[in-house]
């Protein structure tokens, strides 16, 4: 099953529905990059994707075979979400158990804060991420 992205029209402040992503692609549109075979992730599994100069990205596979991707940094204390337990369409951060939505990257109330969602889709059995939505690492040496 694949997911399409509608990143162009939504804004960062909107609360996106399932399968939509709130981070708009910059001018120039989407840049889909194949990452790994989709079945490299088990259902309710996750992996971390690293790209030099950018913050690492966590990809997730929900029970219903939908795929999601988030910047791999919990809005609370920066915990690696890719190591968390995935349930429904949420992931529990392994450090302090914040519950983060896979679709919008936002913490469940009463906690608050969001990490960036990244476009993800499956094409011909391969998982692809939208490189245009990756977030540059603040580290000047990265």
């Amino acid at each position: 099953m694949s997911i399409s992205t509608t990143g162009k029209s939504t804004t960062a402040s909107a609360i996106p529905g399932e399968g939509e992503y709130s981070r708009p692609s910059p001018p120039g549109g989407e840049r889909w990059q194949t990452v790994c075979p989709a079945d490299a992730l088990v259902p309710l599994g996750a992996r971390r994707i690293e790209r030099a100069g950018f913050l690492p990205v966590a990809v997730f596979r929900a029970q219903d075979d939908r795929y999601f991707a988030l910047v791999d940094r919990c809005p609370h204390k920066g915990g690696p979400l890719s190591e968390g337990i995935v349930f429904g369409n949420r992931v529990a951060c392994p450090l302090h158990n914040w519950s983060i939505g896979l679709a919008d990257g936002c913490a469940a109330a009463p906690d608050s804060g969001c990490t960036h969602p990244i476009g993800a889709r499956v094409v011909d059995g391969m998982l692809q991420l939208d490189l245009a939505q990756f977030v540059r690492s603040a580290d000047p040496h990265a």
Binding site: Q33, V35, C36, A40, V42, P43, L44, G45, R47, R48, I49, E50, R51, A52, Q63, K77, G79, P80, E83, G84, I85, V86, F87, G88, A92, P94, L95, N97, S99, P110, L131
Partner: protein
């Protein structure tokens, strides 16, 4: 507000949802076309709580209309007394402002009283002619105050104490008049009297019975309460019957005439002699009512299952409740029914009472009078103003009455609800829950004495003031609410008692803790024991539940993939119940147990190799040193359990580190046997009486790879000097000249708990069997994340002794089952493939 919103009843809707036809298929069909209509009559705390729960479960299921007779949105009735006393304002006690109704698409009709319901046509009619049709009706009509039928009861200046308008009338009277009489010396009457006195009135309380609050207090506590209220300036007429109320020329009350001839001057008379369920509407509709609207365990009227009722208007199993905690339990169960989950049941509640008069500490719960077959433990210190009575029957706490010192109220109430045997703690029961060793809040145990700035929760840095304001501003009622919103006591939990105290005196005495049966998590209403039992019991067709998903399916979990809290628990219950058969689900394990290392705050891991009994060798130390150099491991630390911890290991290096170390996993990351700490023992020590190192190594070799509900730590000391600190371990063994003493359920963590003596044995083999049997009992019966100390506190040491000491074949069987469970368990570090470790997780994907 908009004017009349008279909804036409769509043809065809009458077919939707035959009365309680499982609320399933028929309802779902109608829902697809147009939403079903839910009408709530009454806009009080219980009803609105039911709507809140419903909206959380099924936000779009119903088109909701609410009728409220009062002109206010839902407010916290419990806090009327602080409003009367001038400690809070009406605005501060509003729980759901109008915007809440708007935001949730609820039509709110305030100041409109529903006068009739046509059950045949399913239409609700209000006094202004508004008509609304319904598919589901929720009655939450609350209660009426009882007015004494004495002459003059209808005079001006004679009021009840029930709602905002009564409170406002009392505040207004206090500014114009000087003397007031309150009839009724119960909870409500005393709070009213106290409030009027604080507003400057001269107040006399007239009470029919010989002592105050006779339904909550015994005679001694009642008299102590009266004494301290008299010191504050209240006057009392006890054992006094009101004969009539005397009016003046203006038609306003001027005096209260008592049966003994006394006449008390009164410009204001407040009747607080009790409440009566408001069943006026229900009776006019032909619903079966006794003292309240009679409902079943799903909160449906026994007459018309389309009609639900919650709150003070309800009679459930012959009982009507007036305190908020049971009403909220009703609301929750009702909401799951309305949401068509069909799983919530309300099975009645235990209630407790606390007086909301600032500065007076009073608590009562259960059967505090006892009786011929009950025993009492009483502590009375009249000079200090302290009185405590605990009532016990058959080794169970059945009632408590505390005056002057209520710090342990929450603990007593928990013992009472759980109904667990107190035989083993009886001798210190009166002195409360031991607070020795509580850490993180400077050893403070009395929340009321703390300043607002004082830190209550040392883990999350939450002050008392922040908790108080969150409770008031957000309308929190339960410990879970407070944890969610403030994080106080949400981490290690050692300040739970303090937070409960703050909740009690801030949210009011009607607060009481969670229901006796605690649901495992939000995904189910089943408790841990019920889930364990279901896993243990084969299904009707003879098959067994062997996977997490089959458990969720069989037990109708709300969320098909559970949550981060129930998944690891259910996975553990499966593996511990059906070792080698149940299907381990790595995705249901915390990252530490998936990566077989401990995640650190920066996302790196720590590695602790196993050293049997804390003993190591030159070649192991050399390999460790080489690994530290080769993988540039930043920190090497000796642990409290006599191991070496390598901190800051990159995840990708873990398999190579394991292999280079050539040592087995220390399971320092797992809910499993961690370490067996030992002293040197008789091999070297000049005081040693037993070879504790050898005993420790034997225990560790027998028990390693043993997964458990929580981490498990052992220690073996070779003599009573106890250098291995056996007194604070899950199992502590102490060598004496004639053998070994075994202690269990100690804890050196959050709350220091000294282990309890279990048995003295002679041989190594016996130490293994008794310690193993105790640990297997813990593995089979404890709840997930329950340490041995909490497990034993819950079931009682007697129950442990019965299984491990008194029943020799049972003990042998327990020990055998434990050996079976760990026997074929591979070491995940040396045989990761056989242990099912997902090795792909260690390979980074780089773009």
């Amino acid at each position: 507000m908009d004017a009349k919103v008279a909804q036409a009843i769509a043809p065809g809707q009458a077919l939707a949802g035959a009365p309680n036809a499982g609320q399933g298929a028929a309802g779902a069909m109608a829902g697809a076309l147009t939403r079903q209509r839910l009408v709530m009559v009454g806009n009080g705390m219980a009803g609105v709580r039911a709507l809140e729960e419903l909206l959380r479960l099924a936000p779009d299921l119903y088109d909701i209309t609410v009728f409220g007779a009062e002109p206010h949105p839902n407010y916290n009735r419990i806090l009327l007394s602080p409003v009367l006393a001038g400690e809070q304002t009406v605005d501060q006690i509003v729980l759901n402002p109008r915007s809440w109704y708007d935001d949730n698409g609820i039509r709110l009709h305030l100041g409109r009283k529903v006068t009739a319901v046509d059950r045949a046509r399913r239409i609700v009619r209000a006094d202004d002619g508004t008509e609304v049709g319904y598919e589901r009706l929720l009655l939450a009509t609350g209660s009426h105050p009882v007015m004494l039928p004495v002459p003059g009861a209808d005079l001006a200046g004679v009021i009840a104490y029930r709602d905002i308008s009564d409170t406002e009338a009392m505040i207004a009277a206090a500014s114009r008049y000087s003397s007031a009489v309150v009839i009724g010396g119960g909870l409500l009457g005393l709070e009213a009297a106290n409030g009027l006195m604080l507003r400057g009135m001269q107040v006399t309380v007239v009470h029919l019975m010989p002592h105050l609050m006779e339904r909550q207090l015994d005679a001694t506590a009642g008299r102590m309460l009266q004494g301290s209220l008299e010191k504050r300036g209240l006057r009392f007429c006890m054992g006094a019957k009101t004969e009539s109320l005397v009016g003046g020329p203006a038609g306003r009350v001027t005096a209260v005439q008592l049966a003994d001839g006394t006449r008390l001057a009164a410009d204001l008379v407040v009747m607080a002699v009790g409440i009566r369920a408001n069943t006026d509407l229900a009776q006019s509709m032909g619903l079966h009512c006794q003292r309240g609207i009679v409902v079943n365990d799903t909160l449906q009227s026994v007459t018309d299952p389309r009609i639900y009722a919650v709150g003070e208007c309800v009679s459930h199993r012959g009982t009507t409740y007036g305190l908020v905690a049971p009403l909220f339990e009703q609301a929750k169960a009702c909401a799951t029914q309305l949401a068509r989950f069909g799983i919530g049941r309300y099975c009645g509640s235990q209630v407790s009472t606390k007086l909301k008069v600032t500065g007076i500490d009073l608590f009562s719960a259960g059967d505090f009078q006892g009786g011929a077959d009950a025993e009492e433990i009483v502590l009375s210190d009249p000079v200090a103003g302290i009185y405590k009575k605990l009532v016990i029957r058959n080794d169970r706490l059945i009632g408590a009455c505390l005056y002057g010192d209520t710090v342990d109220a929450a603990w007593y109430f928990a013992l009472l609800r759980e109904g667990r045997s107190i035989a083993d703690i009886r001798d210190h029961l009166m002195f409360g829950q031991s607070h020795i060793g509580d850490t993180g809040h400077e050893g403070k145990t009395r929340a009321q004495a703390m300043a607002d700035a004082d830190e209550v929760c040392g883990c999350n840095g939450v002050s008392k003031g922040r908790i108080c304001s969150a409770i008031k501003e957000k309308g929190l009622f339960t410990l879970d609410d407070v944890r969610r919103h403030t994080k106080a006591s949400a981490s290690c939990g050692s300040c739970t008692g303090l937070v409960e105290q703050i909740l009690m005196f801030t949210a009011g005495g009607d607060y009481s803790a969670a229901p006796a049966k605690k649901a495992m998590c939000g995904c189910t209403d089943l408790g841990h024991d019920e889930v364990r039992r279901a896993i243990r019991t084969p299904l009707a067709d003879g098959t067994r539940l062997l996977s997490v998903s089959s458990v969720y399916q069989a037990l109708a979990w709300r969320n098909p993939t559970g949550c981060a809290s129930c998944r690891p628990a259910v996975n553990y219950y499966l593996l511990s119940t059906w070792p080698r058969e149940a299907q381990d689900d790595p995705q249901s394990r915390f990252i530490n147990e998936r990566a077989h290392a401990n995640i650190q705050k920066d996302g790196t891991f720590s590695v602790v190799p196993r050293m049997w009994g804390g003993e190591t060798s030159a070649s192991e130390l050399r390999r460790i040193a080489d690994v530290v150099d080769k993988y540039r491991i930043p920190t090497v630390k000796v642990t409290g359990g006599q191991r070496i911890d390598l901190l800051g290991v990159k995840k990708a290096d873990l398999p190579k580190v394991w292999s280079d170390l050539g040592m087995p996993s220390g399971h320092a990351y797992a809910k499993a046997l961690r370490t067996v700490k030992t002293c040197v023992g008789s091999e070297w020590c000049r005081f040693g009486t037993q070879d504790s190192t050898r005993m420790g190594k034997e225990l560790e070799r027998a028990l390693w790879r043993m997964y458990a509900p929580h981490k498990v730590k052992l220690a073996v000391s070779g003599c009573p000097r106890n250098c291995a600190e056996s007194g604070i371990k899950d199992v502590g063994v102490i060598g004496v000249d004639s053998g070994w003493e075994i202690y269990v359920a100690g804890n050196g963590g959050i709350k220091t708990e000294v282990a309890q003596f279990l048995v003295k044995v002679a041989t190594h083999a016996q130490v293994l069997e008794y310690a193993g049997a105790f640990l297997q009992l813990y593995r089979e019966e404890a709840w997930y994340l329950e340490r041995t100390v909490h497990f034993v506190a819950r079931v009682g040491m007697d129950a442990v002794r019965k299984r491990v000491l008194d029943d020799a074949p049972g003990r042998a069987a327990l020990w055998e089952r434990l050996q079976f469970a760990v026997d074929k368990e591979p070491d995940p570090w040396s045989e990761p493939a056989r242990a099912g470790v997902d090795l792909r997780q260690f390979e980074a994907v780089s773009l």
